[in-house]
Every structure is written in structure tokens, then in C-alpha cells.
Point group: D2
Chain length 366, copies 4
Amino acid sequence: MENKKRGILERLNAGEVVVGDGGYVLQLERRGYVKAGHWTPEAAVEHPEAVRQLHREFLRAGANVLQTFTFYCSEDKLEISGNVTNITGAQINEAACDLAREVANEGDGLVAGGVSQTPCYLNSQNETEVKAIFKKQMDDFLKKDIDFFMAEFFSYVEEAVWAVEVLKTSGKPVGATLCISPEGDMSGVPPGECAVRLVKAGADIVGVNCHLDPLTCIRTVKLMKEGLEKAGLKAHLMIQPLGFHTPECNHSGYLSLPEFPFALEARAMTRWDVHKYAREAYNAGIRYIGGCCGFETYHIRAISEELAAERGFLPPASEKHGLWGAGLQMHTKPWVRARARREYWENLLPASGRPTCPSMAKPDGE
Amino acid sequence: MENKKRGILERLNAGEVVVGDGGYVLQLERRGYVKAGHWTPEAAVEHPEAVRQLHREFLRAGANVLQTFTFYCSEDKLEISGNVTNITGAQINEAACDLAREVANEGDGLVAGGVSQTPCYLNSQNETEVKAIFKKQMDDFLKKDIDFFMAEFFSYVEEAVWAVEVLKTSGKPVGATLCISPEGDMSGVPPGECAVRLVKAGADIVGVNCHLDPLTCIRTVKLMKEGLEKAGLKAHLMIQPLGFHTPECNHSGYLSLPEFPFALEARAMTRWDVHKYAREAYNAGIRYIGGCCGFETYHIRAISEELAAERGFLPPASEKHGLWGAGLQMHTKPWVRARARREYWENLLPASGRPTCPSMAKPDGE
Amino acid sequence: MENKKRGILERLNAGEVVVGDGGYVLQLERRGYVKAGHWTPEAAVEHPEAVRQLHREFLRAGANVLQTFTFYCSEDKLEISGNVTNITGAQINEAACDLAREVANEGDGLVAGGVSQTPCYLNSQNETEVKAIFKKQMDDFLKKDIDFFMAEFFSYVEEAVWAVEVLKTSGKPVGATLCISPEGDMSGVPPGECAVRLVKAGADIVGVNCHLDPLTCIRTVKLMKEGLEKAGLKAHLMIQPLGFHTPECNHSGYLSLPEFPFALEARAMTRWDVHKYAREAYNAGIRYIGGCCGFETYHIRAISEELAAERGFLPPASEKHGLWGAGLQMHTKPWVRARARREYWENLLPASGRPTCPSMAKPDGE
Amino acid sequence: MENKKRGILERLNAGEVVVGDGGYVLQLERRGYVKAGHWTPEAAVEHPEAVRQLHREFLRAGANVLQTFTFYCSEDKLEISGNVTNITGAQINEAACDLAREVANEGDGLVAGGVSQTPCYLNSQNETEVKAIFKKQMDDFLKKDIDFFMAEFFSYVEEAVWAVEVLKTSGKPVGATLCISPEGDMSGVPPGECAVRLVKAGADIVGVNCHLDPLTCIRTVKLMKEGLEKAGLKAHLMIQPLGFHTPECNHSGYLSLPEFPFALEARAMTRWDVHKYAREAYNAGIRYIGGCCGFETYHIRAISEELAAERGFLPPASEKHGLWGAGLQMHTKPWVRARARREYWENLLPASGRPTCPSMAKPDGE
């Protein structure tokens, strides 16, 4: 039955909005299933019910794509992490594919098999070794039923290009996102040039994910778009930013903030911040719009609600969400009833309740 | 097998710390299963997997008690809400008992059947009618296997007393919490007097829940304790505050904040805030320590970790949590590795990344 | 000619508003004539032009009273300070009287001879010794032409009572202000009781000055008023608060703030804050309304402008001040012209431009 | 006697630090002598004692230059302002020269005759008319004893060039400062090019003044320096920035901030902020270092103190200022004594005491 679903490129070629899912590792850390630090995805084997539930929430919130919970699931990373001893990377990858597939089939969801940056690249920059790692992970996925590949969270475009080159051999569509700032990748390659290299390597969809907040990520994707246009290349654009306000971040992204990773709460976006983000991303020509770390279920729902007219429908979870706060109309307190309107939430400047805290931090590191 | 578990009073009488669970309605609203406004718990029937998963997370995080997901589940409230048409309150109550029981039995958990304030009281103040509503809900619970009762979220001590009087007829232990400020209940009855009335009505455990932040709630429970001592009465103390910073809240609590309920993100407590709260609550003589709205899974884990020495064990979820950030020791960035220590997180003043927002709001309403 | 001026009690008895002057020591420190730490007033002798000019500004801004620049000008304090070697306290007191008199006579100003707390009291609590110090200072003043006495900046009501008892022997009216919080003086005597003691000792005018912000000081004066009413006593009320926002101050006042005394800038009140203060003070029944540390010339003008209708006139300095920003009507930038109205300034929440700074500090000390 | 003073170029050519004075119009507005809006300098005639006193404070604080209080004192501006009816521009210019000269001669001060942007330029861009206005003002100055000319507060380099061309005909040294951002003047001419044009027109000293905060102004002057170096030109560099934190300002400068001009208090720099500024300006190769709007007497003293080693002396006003808070060593409260050290003040992040206010504003206008 899933064969009948329209593929990712069919949708994007038709100009449709594709809503991505949110962040898994930070959310599952909070739920008790992922260990901060190495952030490896062994929960796909150890606690499938937790991963399944989060997939299901994103689907209900309107996500068209579920990424397999396989972040940092290369053998070299798992080994360094020390987080698993009797589970192999292959087991995790395969279990994660099954979970994503199972839930995707509860609705109109596609499954993206995800690969990410490797310690091997950082240590060796050896193309053969790095590509072998990607090949191994790809082969795990190909034993299962996935719709396309997603190479994400790359700090160096060179490694991402290698990933794309490997994944393209599968014959499936390939997306690629870098976790870079508008200044470019960690080697200083500007976003426009990064995009060009990825598309030339075969990527069908390019963009950015993680590390920086929505408005900064939109700027980076715009630079990618300009780079592609100048080079006469075409590709679909995607974006999966942080769900946090990080205006003061430097090139390193939110790793450099003093609050990373255990005190980011005050920076979390509201659903109304996400409305603005979704609209701006859409206006920038981006059609694959999701989130990364900090994007919770209701943030994905907010993307779906903001772009409901463009998509033609609301997600299932909107049955439980009065648009723009409409559910407050019946509240017993009159001043809360007065908040059941778009203008209220769009213009609110939310307080932190933390009067001894600053509003901006001095980033650490580079 | 569950019969062999030690009961709530056995544990409290022995001086043990009992960790409560966190907030259900706000969290399940974010996950897409509860509608803000009336906040009714039909998800227990409609989406049992979502409720089960949240119970499971709290249990893994160290909760000793799972409250049935039956907030606002009186027939009068359900009818007013318009949220359900073909499900009865009895169905929800019974499904919720089964879910809590099922998960509690996966560990050393007790099940508390929860009742809360009714619209009927606000409209009529008619003791017979209000008691009939509580009786009906109690009877639903008694068809199922629950360990004790919890009457919670009462703004008027009079209504809470009526609830306790009904619930005591079951022969099971009864806890009772009010959602009041240190100024007292909505009729102006001071906390000490509230506690006295509840205990005289038969409550075994008294305290506060919701509406105000942890430090404010501790002040209120201390006033309750003083009232009981002056009256020569004894009872166990409990607390389940908001997981938000609300220093400027007036008597009405966080309903009066402009950010309620859709822009509270920046006020969310960090896990380190919860460590301080758990310690202060313990030092105040409170032994049943949990959370209400805004308390997520990792906040409950933080209570368990702060009081691990007193309890003698860490919760299962701590397998996935390096204490005080220890998991960061292996991070690739040196400045992030430098954060793997207690002093760092205890002293950090987290920024909001929102420089155009105030730190405190002017409360609405009374 | 100055004999024809109506005296302070004549004015207050007639129900008139008396506008006090602002703070001398902090302002003259910034202008380069007072040394922070001991804050002694030798500038009256060393740089009379600087003191004269500040007097003149306050008079132009609408002040009805000029206090002699004799703060901390008791012999014991001068000696401890080490700030002067070849000038006596008597010389300073006399020079200060002449300066205030000279400028007061340029308009409808009265001169108040000021005495303040002594190191002697803190060290010895010896009534005879302390009274001898006040007597000496009073005698200096009586050689000159002053209209009434002001005993100000007392932390202990006992010392203030002694000062009043001495000053009353002059036959001139006596005002007395304490630098206390709503919790009372440093011995724990509540404000109401402090006021009663001062009036019983002979004070014609009582109130508070310095140490805390305007709204807090109004609360304290209200408590004084209640105390007097309960005791069946009558006295005029006065207030001369800080010109800084200090909402988090404890009993010790702004000395306990980390910013005292060299980084208080961000706390400075705007003229619009002063409008609110003047109105609230007036509404609380206070008729002698001025300022202390942090109150600059334009703050005094703001009092005069807010109470212009009650007083029946605007001060000379208002020739150079468009009310509520009216002077901006001709600005070249349209968005600045749009600020020439009361609503704009009354509702503005001014930013600090300091995003890495908190909004509230944790006070030091007791 | 003043003839024996070393001239401005002699000093700068010798590599000496020249400390400028602070801002007159904002400070005299607060003191009650200047009307906000048109900000014209009629006080030089109407209230010479106020202007004289402010000159004297700056001199005592270490200023080597006193600028005549002739801001906006062109006939066209005075007429538009409506602020004076029976005083001519010539009268103000001449009185202002006398005042500056009188005070400068009390110490080692030089007098700079200041001209600034004209309404005529904005309306007509007519070189002949605009130059005639500058010529008239220059002739007023030349009747008096001034040491050099300062053309300041120009938004368009073209008008500044015209001013320089006129002033150079006097045979006296000429300085020229623009009130521009790092983006360049209002026509889009970049800072480097602006500097080149000014030097080619004959300016001996070039730089920026007003409109933006110290660190931003330093960036602009650095760009000027680079421009001059590229063009193979030489000139002395000067800087007189705002005394306010304005990090969010756009091209228009602080006029665009909602707080301009009546609620800027919270943005005021501390003396410690000025220490950092003075050091950075010095390190950037700037040798004429002063301030503009918001720079009060104690800010100028802070420049003098930071650069005391380079200059070889402290200013007279430092007799009344314990360096780095040393004066607090004798304070009665132990926690205040603990603040008598450089580290304390350098690292303090001052709170605003305004918890309902944001830290950054959204600028108005362009």
C-alpha cells in the first residue's frame, strides 16, 4: 500500500509544501531515552515504544516525512560513545527503519533514511574510509523499506558531498543539509558554493539543519539559493532549524552558547514564533520545511497550521488545537478569554520570569 | 502482584520520599492530544498509547505515583467543554485507571485516582450536587484497581473538603491539594486554616498544586504546616507546583500572566532549577514531591536525582543522564567539555535570546 | 526682603504643594566636586560656584526649598573622612548657608538647614555626645539666615528624635526624614511608630528620604501617616526618595545593590517615571515632595510640571521644556515628531541597550 | 598668556592624547537651559553662568579642548527653531566664544569654534548659500579668540567638505566629524571615502561624533583610517561618540531608538564603560578622544583616568575620585568596602531595575 504514496520529488516537483518532522535527540533526552553528550540513537532498539510515539506525534502534527531515528548511527560514532555494548549499528538502523515505516504507514508519511557526520571524517579526512562508513549505513537502510535518503548535520561540505555520492548509488532521491551559518562551512566555503557542490554531487534537495535559529537558517538557505541560481543549477530547498532563539550565536552555532545543552529552556520558540518562521521560509521559496533540535510536536503543528491554506488541509492534531488560541474563548477568566485571537499572540513579547538573567549570552569558543 | 506493593501511607509514615509525577494536560496538549481551554482528558480513550507513554516516562524518571489522567473528568465539565460527544466520563475514568495501573505495574508505582474542581461548585455551591458528582467519579474509580485518591486543583477549600468527605467513604487514603497562593484560597481562607479543614475532613496528605511556581508553593505549604502544628494536627505534606518561573504572579496564579497558556516557554524551569526546588521542598519537611503543569519528564528525573541519597537509588531514566552534566565530558568542543560539572550548571544564569522581551510581565486580572 | 516670604508651615498649613530640591552629593560627585565614599560637602567652601549653580538649577526647576549643602557635615564625620584638613565644619556650614540663601533669594525659595546621621551615634549611642554635635551644627546655622531645619537620612529613629529635640530649641520649624524601608528603622521600629516618636519630639514635618525608590518610599510614608492617625497626632508629610529604580532592594536600601554607587546609571528614573511618582505622592496626601540621590534637575522640573495645576504655575525651567515632549513636534524625522505626545512617553518601556545584563540584581548584605 | 599654549596640531603632531569635552545640549537640557527639539544654544546669552559651569566641569575633568557652545547656531536654524526672538546668532556665537575662552584660560585648555549641519543644506543643497552661512558664523568666531575650528555633526560629507573649505580660509587648524555609521554617510559614501574627501578639502583632524555608541564609532573611525591609508593621506583621528549603549541602532543612529530623547537613562554608560572605550579608541590610533550627547563630566574624567599614564597626569577632578572605586575602602558596610577594586567594576553587569522593560528596542524609521 505504501507503494502508492507519491514520492518526495513528485511532491516537491508539483510545488507542494512538504512538512518535515521535528527534533528527536533533544526531545528523547528529555523523555529519558537518549544520553546527552554523544546523543546516540540506541533507543530505537532499547525503547521502541518511545521512538514510535514521537514519530506518531510528528505525523499527527502534519509531518509528511519521518526521518529514521539513526542520528550519529555510524559504527565509529557508536564505538566512541560507549553508549551501547551489545547492540550493533546495523540493528539500530534496521529497527529505526521499521519504526519509521510502521508509523508513516498510519498516514501519508514518507520515510527518510538519515546519515550524519562521522568522527572518522574529523580524524582522518580519508575519503575511502568515510565513504565506506556511509556505504555500510546505506546498506542497512536498503534492507528495509525507505523512500529516500537524507544526509544531514554536516559541518564540512566535503564530507556531505561524499555522503551524497555514496547515497546516490542507491538510485533513491537524496537530500542534504549542512549545519552551517551564513558565513559558510567550517572550512570557510560559503553557503552558495556549498549548495553548488552538493547539487553537482547529485543532491536533489539541499539546505541547512540544526545549529542556528530559524531566521538565521533562512538567511543561509537564501544564500544557497543565490549560489545555485548563479551557477544555473536547480534543486529543491529545505530547512530544519533549531527551535530556539539564538540571535547572538557565532559561526559555531548553539554549541557556543553557555546554555547548551541543559539550560536552553528560556530560548525555546513559541508556536507563534514558528508561524512567522514557516511563513518566511515559504516566502523565501523553501518548500521542505521542518525543524531540528528544540522543535517539538506542537511546533510542527504550527508549521502545518500556518501553511494550511497552501497545503489545503489541517493536520489531525489540529482537532486538538484551536487556531490562534480559539480554544480560550470559553475560559472562565474574562482576561484569558480576551486572548483568543491572533493579534494577541502575534504581538505578545513573552517574559522569562527570570529577572536576574540576561537576555543575551556571550558565546564561548571560536 | 501489585497487592504486595507498600501503600502510600506506609511509605510516608516510614519517612520515605515519594516522588510524584509531572503535568499531563499541558504536555499532552503539546504532543497533540489535549485541547487547550477546557483541558479535558478524553485522550485516555481516544489515544491511550499517548497517555501510556507519558505515564511510562514519569515512572522511568522515578515517580512513585501515577495519577490517573482524569483531570476535569466530571460529567458537568465534560458537557460544558463540548470536547466529547460519544464518550462518557465513566469511560474515560475507567480507561484512565487501566492505563495508570498497567504502567504502574511495570515498576514500583502506585495509582492515585484524581478528582478536581467542578463547574457545579462555581455555579451553585450546592453541597449535595457537588458531592454527588464526586461520588459518581469515585464509583468509577472503585470499579478499577487504584491505591488511593487525590483531590487536586481546588481554588476553594470548601469544595476540597466536600471532595475529601466523599472520597474518605471509600476507605482508601486520600490526599488533597489546593491551587492557592500564600494569601489563601479564593474566599480568603489562609493556607494554615485550609490545611486544618482538610485534615479534619479526613485528608491524610495535604498540600498545594499548580498555579504558582515552586518556591511560592513551598511557602504556601509551610504556612499549611504551621497551621496544622498550631492546631495540634498531623498530616503528610505534598507539593506539585508549576514547572515555570512566575515570580510576579498574583493571587490568581499563572492564569493572570500574559503568556498563559501559549507563550510560557521562556519561563520553563531547567533541570537545575528543579534540583534546588526538590532540595528546598525536602528541607521544608515535604515528603511527597512532584510537579504539575510544565513539569516534564526530565524535571521529575531531576527530583529523583537530587534526592537519590535520601531515597537510596537512582531512577531507570538516569541510565540516560550523566549527573550534573557528566555526559558532556567527551564532547568534541573543549568549551562544552568544561560544562560537565555541577558548579557550571548551578551558577549559570540562562539567557532567553529574546532581547526585545521583558523579564517580567504585568499580570492581568484581579 | 526675604522676611516677606511665607514660611514652610504657612505654606503647608494652607494645603500648598511644596516642591523640594534634588540630590546634591551624587550629582556633585559626577560633576567632579564630591568624593564618593564619605560624601562630605567641603565643596561649599572649595568650589562655591558649583554648589551655587546646582542650587540655581533646582530653584529654576521649581523647588520651593533649597537645603544647605551640609550633608554629613558634623565634625566627627569630617574628621573620619580625611577629606578636609584646613577647613572646619563651621566654615562649611556657614558657607553653605550663604550659598543657599543667595540663590533662594533669586526666587521664592526657602532655606532649610540640614543635619544628618553621625558616626558618633553608631559608635556610642551616647545621647549627650550626639546632641552636642547637633547643637554645634545648629549654632553654625543660626549665625546665618535660614528658614527652618531639616534632620534627614537617619537609619535609627532614636538618633533622629535626638536631632529634633535639639533643633526645636531654635524655635524654628523642624522637618525630619528617615532613610528607612516599609519594614521600619534599623532597630525594627515600624514606620508608624517612628513617625509618632518624631512628632512627639517636636517635628512639624515627617517622612522619608534616600535609600529606596519612589514607590517604596511612598509606601513607607503611608505607614507613617497611618501611625500618626492611630495615635491621634498631626504632622505634615514629606518624601525625598532615590531617583533610581530599586524594586529588589532589601531593608538596607540601595547600598545593598551591586551597582552602588558607580554603576547605577541604568536604574535612573526618566522624567516620566517622576510624573507618576509625583502624582502618587500627592494622592497619598504628601505635600512636601522632592528627591534625594539620583534626582537631577529635570526630575525636579517633572514634579513641578506634574503638579502645575495644583500649584497654579510652571517653573522657570519649563520655558525650556515642551510639556510631554511637545518640543519634538518640529523634529526633522517624522517618527520622532510622532513622539511629541503624552501617551507615547507614558507607555514607553525603555530598553537598556545592555542585552547581557540582568534586569534585577541580587542584593548584597543583610 | 593663552598665546603661550601649545596648539592643537602641535599636541597631536607630538603624539599626545587630546581629551575632548562632553555633550552640552543634552546635559543643559537636563539642567534646564536648552529646549529639546531644536536644541539651540541661546543659553550662552541667556544663562552664561550655566554654560560657564559646564565648561569648567569638563576642564576640571581633564578636557584639553572646550568647544564653543554654538551647536546649531546658524541663522537659518535659529530662525526655524523659534527659540529666540531678540538675540542674533552673532550674539550667541560671540558670547559662546567668550565663555569658552574665559574657562579655557583657567587651565591648559584650547577653544574650538564649532559649526554644524544647516537646514539650508537639507533644503537646497546650494553650495553658495550654505557656504555663506558658514562664512558668517566663522566671521563671528574670528572676532574673538579661538584656537581652531571644529565642523561637526554632519550627516552628508558634501556639506562637511563645504564647511571645511570655508573654515580653512581662516588659516586656523580645522577638525571635521561626521555623525555617520560604519555604513557611511546619508548619501551612501563609505567612511573611508568620507575621510579622504575631508582631508583633501583641508581638514587636519577627521573623525565621527554623536549618533552612535562608542564601540560603533570606533569601527567607523577605523574605516576612515583605512581609507586614508589606502589613499596615501595623513590626518589626525578624533572621536566623540554618544554616552549611551545603542547596539541595535541602524544607520540613523539613536534618533531611531524609541527612547530618544527623553527616556535614554537606562542606556547611559557607566564610567567603567568609558574606561574600555578610551582604551579601545587609543589602541585604534585615535588621539583626540572626547564625547558627545550623553557624555557627562564624570565620563570625561574617566577618559582622563584611563589614559593618565599616557598623558602623564591626572585631571584636577580626580582629587575627588578614588581610582577604580578606591574611595569605598572606608565605607561602613563591609560589602560596599569589598567593591573598592578594579575587578569588581570591570566585571559587573549592571541591572536596570526595570524588569518589565526589554533590553533592546526595535528601532523606528529607516
